[in-house]
């Protein structure tokens, strides 16, 4: 029930509301809890509300970390 998914904010549609998109499917959400959200941000959506804005720097750090781990094993596989 605490499922929440990141979707990209593509438009601010009114006071505290916006339209988000994921893979071409767009939907209207409330931004009441993420007043600092800007168009282009990825928003974590739960039950029709943005509950947090994705931190891109942290998201990149995570991907880099996983990539390093993967590369380290790839080397081992080749050796």
């Amino acid at each position: 029930m605490c499922l929440a998914v990141p979707m990209k904010l593509i438009e601010i549609t009114g006071e505290g509301t916006g339209r988000v998109d994921s893979g071409g499917v767009s939907t209207d959400v409330s931004l009441a809890m993420v007043p600092h959200a800007r168009v282009g941000d990825y928003i974590i959506i739960h039950a029709g509300f943005g509950i947090e804005v994705l931190d891109r720097e942290e998201a990149q750090i995570r991907i880099d970390l996983f990539r390093e781990l993967a590369e380290a094993t790839a080397h081992l596989e080749e050796a």
């Binding site: 029930m1 605490c2 409330s30 993420v34 039950a47 509300f49 995570r62 781990l69 596989e77």
Partner: protein
């Protein structure tokens, strides 16, 4: 990341988990508190990657599972007595009460609407006025702010036929109950509850109970990283709280969401299936919003509800049993014909075991 790299990363992490468990030497029991984690773990097959001395048990973080049967009875009685339209998230529809479920109520001609967002209840109320519309308020801190925000909108718009029947739960008190158990060595902390509450709020696990906790995301690799860190902390003997979901969870959480919750609701006692009455573990309406409270505005009397004594949900929700120990599992109790809430909720532990055929005892 491509699937091959993802696989490699998973293997590295699994190897690290194995190494740490091996050097620790003793059994480790860790609990994933959140039902969404339970489902993600089952779906990804993570348990098959874990060493034998590491047991991962499910906790009470499936809102539908910890909701008492009497709540369903209360909802149905409210619907009948006041000819109210019951609005709910889909998960609750087939949960059996003492005499039938919401699905049954609907087939008798009762009005039940399944919504994706609590905001939808405002439109339903506006269109159906003056018929009372009752939103069934089940959920943890992730969901509560969305209901609180909905109530605020309804108040501003002057919608007077919308009510909420609150059975909300908050995570800290039950977590303390579980942290006091000697046979639980650490906690995989709920990612989206933490998005609201922050990662700093769990310090008491360390200071009062000497137990580590790791805030985890929901991708398989997120869960493996968090497990690796949790195993490391549990084995090291120096507990700490680590946030492995930093892309979403801030140290202090989302202050706007927290303020929204406590503008509309205040702390109350709550009764949990499996854990019983826990003081301060629920929420009730503040006096300023009392006109939305279905408990007082649409009063009903329902007798105390008895659970099927053969259902082990209570023990499962506290991590002391696994579903395969229940005699009804897969026989009398299946997702099509659920006996207990752990089977009916899509994120219940019994449903996860059934759907993914998890091995006994793991």
């Amino acid at each position: 990341m491509n699937p091959a790299d993802e696989n490699r990363t998973a293997q590295v992490l699994a190897r690290e988990i194995h190494e740490r468990c091996l050097s620790y030497g003793r059994p480790l029991r860790l609990m994933e508190v959140c039902g969404t984690h339970t489902m993600a773990i089952a779906e990804s097959g993570i348990k098959s990657l874990l060493p034998d001395n590491l047991q991962l048990v499910s906790g009470p973080g499936c809102p539908v599972c910890v909701t008492e049967k009497v709540f369903i009875d209360q909802a149905l009685e409210t619907g009948r007595r006041y000819d109210a339209c019951l609005v709910t998230f889909g998960d609750l529809v087939r949960v059996p009460g003492s005499s039938g479920s919401l699905a049954g109520f609907r087939s008798e001609g009762g009005s039940v609407r399944v919504v994706y967002s609590p905001l939808d209840a405002i439109e339903i109320a506006a269109k159906g006025a003056p018929r009372p519309v009752v939103f069934l308020g089940v959920g943890f801190e992730t969901t509560v702010p969305t209901v609180a925000a909905t109530v605020k909108v309804a108040k501003t718009r002057g919608v007077t036929n919308l009510f909420v029947l609150p059975a909300f739960k908050t995570i800290h008190r039950p977590l303390e109950v579980l942290a006091a158990k000697v046979d639980l060595h650490g906690f995989l902390l709920p990612g989206h509850v933490s998005a609201i509450l922050g990662s700093d709020c769990y310090r008491y696990l360390v200071t009062d109970y000497g137990k580590p906790g790791v805030v985890a995301g929901f991708e398989p690799l997120d869960i493996l990283v968090a497990l690796r860190d949790l195993v490391t902390l549990a084995a090291s003997g120096s507990p700490d709280i680590v946030n492995d979901y930093r892309r979403v969870v801030r140290p202090a959480g989302n202050p706007t969401a927290q303020a929204t919750i406590y503008e509309v609701f205040e702390e109350a006692d709550a009764s949990w299936r499996g854990l019983g009455l826990i003081p301060g573990s629920g929420l009730k309406f503040r006096p300023e919003y009392a006109s939305f409270d279905a408990t007082t505005r649409l009063q009903v009397e329902v007798p105390p509800a008895k659970d099927d004594p053969r259902c082990l949900c209570a023990a499962i929700l506290t991590g002391s049993r696994t579903p395969d120990k229940c005699g009804l599992f897969g026989r009398e109790c299946t997702p099509e014909e659920p006996v207990g809430p752990c089977m009916v909720s899509s994120e219940g532990t019994c449903a996860a075991y059934y759907k993914y055929g998890l091995a006994a005892g793991r």
